[in-house]
């Protein structure tokens, strides 16, 4: 059987959830006849019809607003952002409407807003960003960042079945680059459980999304030098699996946090604060961050290469930390 790409895994999750539950509907720009800018909704209009796969105007506020409204009638809408950068256009609907709804008046908002984020394809400042932290900082939203094809499918299913607004940040660099054999039967991956991608004793590398792959590459090269790094994949930033992070740090006593998002206000700071307050005595070295610099994602290949963290940089930082 052919291996399934990360992108195809997302398409399958949508297809299978739509087949399972007629209250799952899709909204987005160019998702119907065209099948989505990256093809994540290819073939779904033909199968499920115009009412369940809704091509919308270029109108993110209308897309997410309507998804919220549809969810109030008991439906489970999945809205596509053509690029996750465009989620800024509907920040209001997410941060003020969806996120606060259940808390303020007990109205759950079972929607998913999904789409491609991240760099590595030379798409420039408006098609490459990692805007997850705006939403990690917004109570009421859940934030999912899959790193593998298996997780992309299993986490998306959980996101659709969840009763809360879930932002699902796919990584476009992984769309066609990672693939694996997926189970034939229905499965889901629960939100809030990190995965240990590689076990190790010398230091812990915590990461998510595309940087999990880079961290694993780095861990492989570290192993050649006799350094055994444990690689954790957070999978979801909200809810955050604090226990798995703390358990790993208590074992390895050293922590490196890696993300493609920019540095200041990034997830690494939050994890560092968590570990400092809960496991300070277990640390045998400084908590180190490998992240993108505090800049927009530049367009030209050479500039973007300088912007993005990579396996070599992660391995260098890890070596220094291991020897600290």
């Amino acid at each position: 059987m052919a291996q399934t790409t990360y992108l195809e895994a997302i398409r399958q999750a949508l297809d299978e959830e739509m087949a399972r539950d007629p209250s799952v509907v899709l909204l987005g720009e160019d998702i119907g006849v065209y099948g989505g800018a990256f093809g994540a909704t290819q073939g779904l209009l033909a199968r499920y019809g115009w009412e369940r796969v809704v091509d919308t105007p270029i109108s993110e506020t209308a897309i997410v607003g309507a998804a919220i409204g549809m969810s109030y009638t008991g439906l489970r809408p999945v809205a596509e952002m053509q690029f996750m950068d465009f989620i800024a256009c509907c920040f209001e609907q997410l941060a003020n409407f969806a996120a606060k709804s259940h808390y303020r008046w007990g109205a759950p908002v079972p929607i998913v807003v999904r789409g491609p984020s991240g760099g590595g394809v030379h798409a420039g400042p408006f098609h490459s960003a990692n805007p997850e932290m705006y939403f990690v900082h917004t109570p009421g939203l859940k934030v999912v960042c899959p790193a593998t094809a298996y997780d992309a499918k299993g986490l998306l299913k959980s996101a659709i079945r969840d009763n809360n607004p879930v932002l699902f940040f796919e990584h476009k660099f992984l769309y066609r680059r990672v693939k694996e054999d997926l189970p034939a039967e229905d499965y889901s991956v629960p939100l809030g459980q990190a995965a240990v991608r590689r076990a190790g004793r010398d230091l812990t590398i915590v990461s998510y999304a595309a940087m999990v792959q880079a961290s694993l590459e780095a861990a492989a090269s570290l192993a050649d030098d006799g350094i055994e790094a444990e690689v954790l994949d957070l999978r979801t930033l909200v809810p955050l699996d604090r226990e798995t992070i703390l358990a790993s740090v208590r074992k390895t006593n050293k922590l490196l946090v890696v993300h493609e998002d920019t540095r200041t206000g990034g997830m690494a700071g939050e994890i560092a604060a968590l570990v400092c307050s809960e496991a300070f005595d277990d640390l045998d070295g400084p908590i180190v961050r490998v992240t993108a610099p505090d800049a927009p994602v530049p367009s030209a290949p050479a500039l973007e290469e300088g912007f993005l963290p990579n396996a070599a940089g992660i391995a260098d930082a890890a070596r220094r930390l291991a020897q600290a």
Binding site: V33, A46, P57, G65, T73, P108
Partner: protein, 404 residues
Amino acid sequence: MQLTLTREQQLELYYFMRLNRALEERLDRLARQGKIVGGLYSSLGQEAISVGSAYALEPGDWIAPMVRNIGSLLVRGYSAREIFTQNMGRANSPTNARDNASHLGDLSVRHVVSPISMLGDLIPVMTGVAMGARFLGQKRVAMTWIGDGGSSTGAFHEGLNFAAVQRAPLVLVLENNQWAYSTPVARQVPLRDLADRARAYGVPGAIVDGNDVLAVYRAAKQAVDQARAGHGPVLIEAKTMRMRGHAQHDPAEYVPKKMMEYWKARDPIARYERALTVGKLWSAADKKQIDARIERELDEAVEFAESSPLPGAKEAGEIESGVYCEGCHEIAPEWQRAKEELLPPKSAVAARWVVNDFGAFEEHAPRDIVMQTAAPKAAAKRAPARRTAHAKVTKSSKARKARG
């Protein structure tokens, strides 16, 4: 179309308008006593709009009020007790004191969507409610309100445009009360009639005297019936005047005195009382009886709210509870159509656009594109062609990108 109301219904309109005003007078008094939590936004002079428009709805329809729509909440079944406990931040308020003013809602019974303070955002949301209800096979209409000021927000335009493209059963009542906080309408919108906003979206835009409750009711009823029949959204501009400041703290000294006098002479309740008298629909005794009933109800409700507990101090963990829905709500849509219609093979369609007029401007061909309802060839035998109520959509930018 039922545009005439029985005597009982006409008296009920009076009851709701008077209740709306008397209730807000009590709120005003409570605010002066320091018993209101949060802002207080008066709808004095605008009661005919809240009451007349909501009165045109059927049971099961949806509303999303704005802060000046207490009257609509009352018509849709909210009690004075709920309004007082909410505005007084009592622990037993509809939001358990987590929000204030008219920021309350009820998904399961009364179909009220709670507003947020940011203006215009209810319009795309209520478009989605209208689409969702239609999707489930319900014949329900969604109604919401917006002010002259709020009609300049992006959400207003994105919401109305999407509702129009989707022909969603949405009725949008634009209360032109002449002022957005301190800014007069001429400084906000370069239009004489805000109903003209509708023209940009191919939506009917009606203008109504917002201080005439029967006129508001009739316009709303026509719009609601039209939306329910599947003809898409309607915008109603109700011209009126905000007779107080933006909120309680604002003495509104920027409003010209003569303007206030002009509108005071057009007070919607006084006008309606005269109409009922001229039409011989009531006697002085009827009015006295209704007014007395309202005072009794409000006395009881205020007493209930004042004796209701304020929320106690809470630990951070308790404050965080309820941010997420974790098994506390079961979400079950109310299907009024066969789910099979929405599942393969019945849901299968030929996924392509058919553009009738090729987009040429000189053509006089219908400017619709047709969504194919015939099943694709592979599935043709299993799934016969299906006609949906909204198989036609107004041409969108997507059409110009069409590939087939």
